[in-house]
């Protein structure tokens, strides 16, 4: 029988991440302005095990399932979006065996079959090509790269020397190193990166968007509860209250779609379409939430006295890093579930 509560262990990890996020929140703006997460916070996050949530136990991680790990990511990002994303997004490859600090990038064709004109190719054991935009840990390390091979996408381990990283400026996520890379080197190893792995990737990406959605909802709510206009707080106007209600609904709906997809994937079910849908919903909900937050703050939302404008830049940058919504729709449609739904299997 379906249920929506969390076990104690998952709750404890999420609360740990949330508390870290609350403590880090005061530094969120500073991190964005300086282009780096304060060293002390990074060290503390490492000590708390936040970089190892989904890393496999054999690789020294906690090996948490996507549901528990995602809940923790959302909890942290909801409190300190810019820092939380900067710390944890570069670890997105960890469920697939990427060690801490490795540069993970998806240059494959995608399990859904949407054809990327550029990207990475694996031929005769050598990975070549270009990554346009990816998240990287400070300093950069070896590459864990998804490349197109003759028999489908492969996850390739490539030495740091084969990855010529260049900083890639973008309007958001400025506390995190964003890079482009020219790759040319032998793959030390390569393993299939099929529908199950791509499902895992989508499921790992969505909680960042949920975090931004929650952050924006909570910030806009707090502002609306204090900001006065026409003789009362603006939260007392239905135009504002109803918009907040709509934001809350979209954020909640997106999180539930993700929960179901993550649960089904954990049961071994083919869940690529559900995961692609969940990520797409997460992106849409996060954008709606942050954009509404900017609107509720009015002129204050447009200037950097408040974090709303930064979050708007962050969310769109995060969206660019994780594949656009049309590509996700295509990935889902051409999955096994999609083919079944369209009667073309």
């Amino acid at each position: 029988m379906f249920r929506f509560d969390w076990d104690e262990d998952s709750r404890a990890v999420a609360e740990l991440a949330r508390d870290f996020g609350r403590a880090a929140a005061a530094s969120d703006r500073e991190a964005a302005e300086t282009g780096a997460v304060p060293a002390g916070l990074r060290k503390q996050a490492g000590e708390l095990g936040l970089f190892d949530l989904t890393r496999r136990v054999e690789d020294g991680g906690l090996g948490l399932a996507a549901l528990a790990a995602g809940s923790a990511v959302t909890s942290l990002v909801a409190e300190a979006p810019t820092i939380g994303t900067a710390l944890l997004l570069p670890e997105i490859g960890s469920p697939f065996g990427a060690p801490a600090g490795a540069f993970f990038a998806d240059g494959g064709a995608g399990a859904g079959g949407y054809r990327r004109p550029a990207g990475l190719r694996l031929e005769r054991g050598r990975v070549t090509g270009r990554i346009a935009f990816a998240a990287a840990a400070p300093g950069g390390g070896e590459g864990f790269l998804v490349a197109q091979a003759g028999d489908g996408d492969r996850l390739c381990r490539v030495s740091a020397g084969a990855c010529a990283l260049e900083d890639a400026p973008s309007m958001g996520l400025s506390a995190m190193r964003r890079v482009s890379a020219a790759v040319d080197g032998d793959a030390a190893s390569d393993t299939p990166f099929g529908a199950a792995e791509r499902t895992g990737l989508f499921l790992a990406q969505a909680p960042f968007f949920h975090g931004y959605g929650r952050a924006a909802l909570h910030y806009a709510r707090a502002y609306a509860a204090e900001r006065q206009a026409f003789g009362k707080v603006i939260g007392g106007f239905q135009a504002i209250g109803f918009l907040l209600a709509d934001v809350a609904m979209e954020v909640e709906a997106a999180e539930l779609l993700w929960q179901e997809a993550a649960w089904r994937a954990a049961q071994g079910e083919e869940a690529l379409r559900l995961a692609a849908d969940a990520l797409r919903a997460a992106k849409d909900a996060a954008y709606f939430a942050v954009n509404s937050c900017v609107g509720i703050l009015g002129g204050h939302g447009f200037v950097d006295d408040h974090p709303a404008e930064r979050w708007l830049r962050d969310v769109e940058t995060l969206s660019a890093l994780t594949g656009n919504r049309w590509a996700l729709g295509q990935a889902g449609a051409e999955s096994a579930q999609g083919e079944e739904a369209h009667g073309v299997a």
Partner: protein
Amino acid sequence: MPDFLETEQEKTVRAYLNHFARTEIRPRSLEADRMQDIQPDFYQAVQRSGISMEMMPRNPGSRSKEGEQREHTTLRLSVLASEELSWGDASFLLSLPGPGLGGPPVSFIGTPEQRERFFAIFKDTEHPHFGAYALTEPEAGSDVAGIKTRCEAVNGGYRINGTKTFITNGSRADWVVVFASIDPSLGRAGHRTFVVERGTQGFSVGRRHHKLGLRANDTAELVFSDCFVPEENLLGGRAHYEQSKEGFKVAMATFDSTRPLVAAMAVGIARAAAERARELIEERYMLGRALPRYRALREALDDMDRRVRAARLLTWKSAFLADVRQPQSRAASMAKAYAGKEAVLICREALELTADSGEVPDPFLEKWFRDIRVFDIFEGTAQIQRLVVARRLFEEIGAKVGL
């Protein structure tokens, strides 16, 4: 940890009700809509099938007598059933024999004697019996606190005067749960809840409404003119109302348990429309072909599926919270608001996507387009749901914003 495992019980209920909806409801749906009534042979089919309010439990969210902490599965099963039967035709679900929306208040505050007395008629499976819930008035819809129907204490009971409107199964109900005010100056604290039985002197059925959709379901106006109701029909007895606002709380508690059911109905109709649109489009196009011209259609259909799933999950969550005795007023309103909004859009999109030039629109899609519109209105309008959600959001941070 969130869990989406479908138990054998759920599978059985879902499969059985889907079969019933497919074989007994859908074939009657269009004719019933045209006739604005459901023919007696449907009730014979109901009797044969064993479908009853026992499968759509008559007391959704009813309180545990053994202990408040005990987890129930009642509302979760009910929302599954609600979706499946509404997939067939929501008018038929609303017309199933049973206490309907009148069930929760009788369960919530009725005395053991009242529960026994008012639910007893539903043990008679030979003949259909109905309960109803009369809160809405011509001048008090969303503003529940502003009802004008008056009740006056008289020797041995109460005298009720007023008019109720848009009452589901109103003209055929064996009894109706009626909300009235003993003193309008008391506001919500003045609300009293009665069970008025058919045949009671001074109680009559006004007009039956002709509606945009859900036409096969009886929706009526009820008139109370110096209607005497005996003391024993005051739900919970006089002592129950000594705490202020208790009557109003009953009305609101009813909504908390019924809104997930209504949301599930919207999900059922939206799912039906999305499936029908996909069937019709696949007959006309080859969606598997990688032609850009078909991609927009395919994406539109996929998007409809996703929104149906999201609405279902919100509905399930609100039902789960009710079953484990967690506060769920916000979740119930979110489910109702989201499902209502998305279902209205999906039914329109389904009609639009399949409306080829020169083709007669699909009659089922036309019907669902009409039926679904009320799901953004009844059981609390879209605006009321957002009001509830917004209030709860601010309450969470202790803010009083005057919404």
